[in-house]
C-alpha cells in the first residue's frame, strides 16, 4: 500500500469519525457548542493526518531518497480530483438553488433568510464531499487496476 492509498484511507476514516461523532453528540446531547468543538476536532483530524503521512519538505522526519509518487499515481490522483470536483458541481448547485427555492419561494414567500452558520456548513460540506469522493475514487482505482501500489 503506497502513500496515496494510506492518505485516502486516513481521510475516509476522518470523515467517518467526524460523521459518527457529530451524530452521537446531536442525538445524545444536542448542545450546539459541544457539537462545534467536536466538529473542529474532526476537521483538524481530517486535514492534518495526511500531512503526517506525507510530511512537507521542511519537516525533519520526511523520508528522503525514495520515489513515492510515479506517473501512475499522478494519473490516479488527477482522475480522482476531476471526479471529486465533478461531484461537487452536481451537489453544490442543487443544494444552493434547492435551499433558495425552498426557503424563498415556498416557506417565506420571497423573504427567505438563511443563517450565517448554514453558509459555513455549505463551505465545510463542500470540502468534505471533495475529500470523500477523491478518497473513494483513489481506493477504487487502485483496487480495479489490481495494483496494491506497494511503494
Amino acid at each position: 500500500m503506497n502513500k496515496i492509498q494510506k492518505k485516502a484511507i486516513m481521510r475516509l476514516a476522518a470523515i467517518m469519525s467526524l460523521a459518527v461523532m457529530s451524530a452521537v453528540i446531536l442525538f445524545w446531547d444536542g448542545e450546539p457548542q459541544l457539537w462545534n468543538v467536536l466538529g473542529d476536532i474532526g476537521f483538524m483530524w481530517l486535514f492534518f493526518t495526511p500531512v503526517l503521512i506525507d510530511p512537507p519538505f521542511f519537516m525533519p522526519f520526511r523520508r528522503k531518497g525514495k520515489i513515492v509518487f510515479d506517473e501512475h499515481g499522478a494519473k490516479i490522483v488527477q482522475r480522482a480530483t476531476t471526479q471529486a470536483f465533478g461531484a461537487f458541481w452536481y451537489v453544490f448547485p442543487i443544494i444552493c438553488i434547492g435551499l433558495y427555492l425552498f426557503l424563498n419561494a415556498y416557506r417565506t414567500e420571497g423573504m427567505g433568510m438563511i443563517s450565517s452558520g448554514a453558509l459555513t456548513i455549505i463551505g465545510g460540506g463542500g470540502g468534505i464531499l471533495i475529500a470523500l469522493v477523491q478518497s473513494v475514487s483513489i481506493l477504487a482505482q487502485y483496487k480495479k487496476g489490481g495494483n496494491d501500489g506497494d511503494k
Partner: protein, 145 residues
C-alpha cells in the same frame, strides 16, 4: 487558432458580455434612474447570456480526420483547470465564511446569496480557465494548429 483557443475566446466573450451588460444595466438603473438596489438588480438578468456556454459542443465540433489534441494541449488544459479551481476554491471558502465573521454566528443573510455563490463560482471558473488557456497559447500572432 486551434479548437481550444476558439472555445476559450468564445467563453471569454460570453462571460465578459454577461458580466459587463449586467453591471452596466445595474449602474444605469441605480445611478441614473435612482431606483432601489433591489429593482436595479433586475439588470443582472443579462447573466442569462451565459447560457450560450452550452453551445460549445455544437459550435466547435471535433474533426474526424485530424489530430486536434496533443500532449501540449493536455498540459495547457490541465494547468488552466488547476489555476481556475485553485482560485475558485479560495473564493468559495471566503464566500462561505466571510458572512459568519461579519454578521456573527447568530446573524442571518438573504437566501439570494446562495444562487449568487453558484453563478459567481461558475463565472470565476469559466473566466479564469479561458484567460489562462489563451495566455498559455499566446493571445495573438501564433499559429497553434
Amino acid at each position: 487558432m486551434n479548437r481550444q483557443q476558439k472555445i476559450a475566446w468564445f467563453n471569454l466573450i460570453v462571460v465578459s458580455l454577461a458580466l459587463g451588460l449586467s453591471v452596466i444595466a445595474f449602474s444605469i438603473g441605480y445611478f441614473i434612474f435612482g431606483v432601489s438596489v433591489h429593482q436595479a438588480s433586475a439588470g443582472f438578468g443579462f447573466m442569462g447570456i451565459m447560457g450560450f456556454y452550452g453551445l460549445n459542443p455544437v459550435l466547435f465540433r471535433k474533426g474526424k480526420s485530424k489530430v486536434q489534441f496533443d500532449e501540449r494541449d493536455t498540459a495547457i488544459q490541465r494547468k488552466s483547470v488547476i489555476i481556475a479551481y485553485s482560485i475558485f476554491w479560495v473564493l468559495f471558502v471566503a464566500a462561505a465564511m466571510i458572512p459568519w465573521f461579519i454578521i456573527g454566528p447568530n446573524g442571518t443573510i438573504t437566501t439570494n446569496y446562495l444562487p449568487w455563490m453558484v453563478f459567481g463560482g461558475m463565472c470565476v471558473v469559466m473566466l479564469l480557465q479561458s484567460i489562462v488557456t489563451l495566455n498559455e497559447y499566446g493571445w495573438k500572432g501564433k499559429n497553434n494548429e
